[in-house]
Amino acid sequence: MIVGKQKSISEIKSIIAPFKKVLILGCGTCVKTCFAGGEDEVSVLASALRLACKMDGKDIEIEEFTVERQCENEFIQEGAPAIARNEGVLSLACGAGVQAVARRFARTPVLPGVNTTFIGVLETQGVFTEECAGCGDCKLAVFGGICPVTRCAKKLLNGPCGGSQNGKCEVNPETDCAWQLIIDRLRILGQMDNLRIYVAPKNWQTSLSGGPRKMVREDHMI
């Protein structure tokens, strides 16, 4: 899922400052799971902003609405009447959701309420970790299902550096050494021979470094 963190109240206040009627638009998919922009977070933020604006003596109307997914027109459409009633939209979706809503409603300012942070997993309740860099050329089959591109601070593809200590990364001792994890996992899988496979330097053209990417599935196009 995409993991994000809600912006501070002070930043959000400054973002919505020019408007008197604002819709806080939540997204019921990734950002709901990471407690940044689902229905619950929309209602908490709306309440907090109403209190904050009253304290500042600012007259503002805040409406709340959450769609299932902000990155698809079909779901965005459900928010159309609420969007039409307001001067601006504070989207609590990831950056993709914000832009999808902005594209659909070209005349309405659509503003971000969340800092989109990474693609990750729910490691334990309330803890999210980054697991995928979206590099566009997945080699997880070689690495026993553990990504050194994302989880090794040095992005090493052919074995660990010399700084790993007690299974922890020398860059951040709180982070597991990705290569320790890879070797432990390959041992369990009986795939230690994978370590003999030379992985060529990565071609970053498939990543964001090659410019914004586009995927076309003609069989799904009408």
Binding site: S8, I9, S10, D40, S43, V44, S47, A48, R50, L51, A52, K54, M55
Partner: protein, 134 residues
């Protein structure tokens, strides 16, 4: 402090920590107005409910939970404690002052402790004054 300020306090309480707080506070203190909200477990106290209580005019909000280790649902009071801490930070960020929100562990039916808690909140409100967001 504003003269003749009679604080409004909203009290969220677990029914296991305090069976019927209404009765206790209906006759209760002449120094404050108390609204009570009963919950089957203190873990039901969501952050938005606490904020809405302030929006509805509360000068302070109190959450009464069972003593640690004595929650009927094992960890409800721990969840409530974490949520209250989260909302206190939010209130500070808003500028409303997190001290307006407090959590108290309460043995079942301990009327004296409940009264003491409310008196402490009233004293604190004498310093903080009325809810500035009303």
């Amino acid at each position: 402090m504003t003269e003749n300020f009679k604080p409004k306090i909203t009290l969220f309480h677990c029914i296991n920590a305090f069976g019927d707080a209404d009765e206790l506070f209906t006759n209760g203190s002449k120094t404050c107005e108390i609204k009570t909200v009963k919950m089957a477990c203190s873990s039901m106290v969501k952050d938005v409910f606490l904020l809405r209580a302030f929006e509805a005019g509360a000068d302070a909000v109190v959450v009464m939970v069972c003593p640690e280790g004595q929650c009927r649902y094992v960890e409800g009071n721990i969840r409530a404690k974490k949520r209250v801490a989260w909302v206190r930070n939010l209130l500070d960020e808003i500028g409303l002052d997190g001290r307006r929100l407090s959590l108290t562990h309460m043995s079942a039916g301990d009327q004296a402790a409940a009264t003491r808690t409310i008196n402490d909140v009233v004293k604190k409100l004498a310093e903080l004054g009325p809810n500035p967001a009303v």
